[in-house]
């Protein structure tokens, strides 16, 4: 699969509103484009929520997205928020079925490498580093972890995250900032 992977990390998500509309009209290519952009973020968000079962829940999420897409209305930002909302519900269903809070392994040994400034560009493409970063965020208290994941990984703003979580934007910001503060204390060096 020769997917052109765009370095979306700094530029923020590209606007795929056209692809959303095309997919709603049945354009499979447009749907695949959406999938490639959204799925990595979705998987990371879910991994932070439920650990190893993220793939299964992501699959359930896409099933529902495909089913309900004709009735969806909104642009690409709405689409990402909608997808995250569905994923969140499926994840909660999943956790209820399991009757336990899944644990995410903490990669302590990789932490020093993660935070080091050595060759960030090359490492940014490193799946191991990404997985370790997500696992680190997942060690936060659930509300903080979710706020940080939805802001950072899904690329949603505080208002949108608030709607997804049923909270006010101010509460989302507070949770995210607390999460950052706590994460900063875990960094190997003293200075944040």
């Amino acid at each position: 699969m020769d997917v052109m992977v765009e370095p979306a990390s700094t530029a923020g998500p590209a606007d795929l509103s056209g692809a959303v509309a095309a997919a709603q009209d049945g354009d499979e290519g447009a749907f695949r484009e959406l999938f490639r952009e959204v799925q990595p973020a979705l998987l990371r968000y879910l991994r932070g929520l439920i650990g190893d079962d993220a793939e299964d829940v992501a699959s359930e999420t896409w099933l529902q997205v495909c089913r309900d897409l004709p009735g969806f209305s909104g642009d690409y930002a709405n689409f990402r928020a909608w997808t995250a909302t569905i994923a969140r519900h499926r994840a909660m269903d999943h956790a209820r079925r399991l009757r336990r809070r899944p644990s995410v392994a903490v990669p302590v040994e990789t932490l020093a490498d993660l935070a080091s400034s050595a060759d960030t560009e090359a490492e940014a493409a490193d799946a191991v580093a990404t997985g370790a970063a997500i696992a680190l965020v997942a060690t936060l208290p659930p509300q903080q972890a979710e706020a940080v994941l939805l802001r950072v990984v899904m690329g949603l703003d505080a208002e949108t995250v608030g709607r997804i979580l049923g909270k006010r934007p101010g509460a989302v910001r507070t949770a995210a900032y607390r999460g950052l503060r706590r994460l900063a204390t875990l960094m190997p060096e003293d200075s944040p």
Binding site: T85, T120, D126
Partner: protein, 183 residues
């Protein structure tokens, strides 16, 4: 926000936007939103299959399919029994039976109602200045739907209530985001 504690809003927003790669935490967050890894797109073909299956029925969960099979069987059995009894009546009386409704009507069951509870919507961030009195007379226009003490909660037709208990509110329905802007 106190303004004295790290991070201040500008710093925090820069970190959350992945625009701060000069600090250890900024680098960790940059990793968290890094480009797609090879394993992260493995589900594309499966998703494309789902997309092609599209709006027409996705395979229902196994449990639901089994349930519907059982229900179909039951309907068939009941239908056969009713047809049999109809024939028996017909042969006994020599007439064709008028449509018989021989299932006794269940007595209207009045489900026990829990005492009126304060609205759960207010559970978080209720403004400090407004005391909540559950049984207060309906003078506050804030909720729009106020109830007297003896009125049935949330019953749209209080006089025709017995046969249809208030349906449970399911939050299963996925809310559609409206007018949101991702960034």
């Amino acid at each position: 926000m106190t303004g004295t504690r790290w991070p201040d809003r500008a710093t925090a927003e820069r970190l959350l936007d992945g625009k701060d790669a000069d600090t250890p935490l900024g680098r960790v967050l940059a990793h968290a939103r890094g480009p797609a890894g090879p394993d992260e797109l493995l589900g594309e073909e499966e998703a494309a299959l789902m997309f092609r299956a599209g709006a027409d029925a996705p395979p229902p969960p196994r449990a639901r399919r089994a349930l519907s099979r059982v229900l179909t069987f039951k309907v068939a059995v009941v239908g056969a029994l009713l047809a049999g009894s109809g024939l028996a009546v017909a042969s006994a009386t020599g007439t064709l039976p008028v449509p018989v409704r021989n299932t006794p009507r269940p007595a209207p069951a009045v489900p026990p109602r829990p005492p009126a509870t304060p609205d759960v919507r207010d559970e978080q961030d209720s403004p400090a200045g407004t005391p909540r009195t559950p049984g207060a007379p309906a003078t506050t226009p804030s909720t729009g739907r106020t109830k007297g003490p003896n009125e049935h909660a949330r019953s749209p037709q209080p006089h025709a209530n017995s046969a249809h208990p208030t349906p449970g509110r399911k939050n299963e329905h996925t809310p559609e985001p409206r007018g949101g802007n991702g960034r």
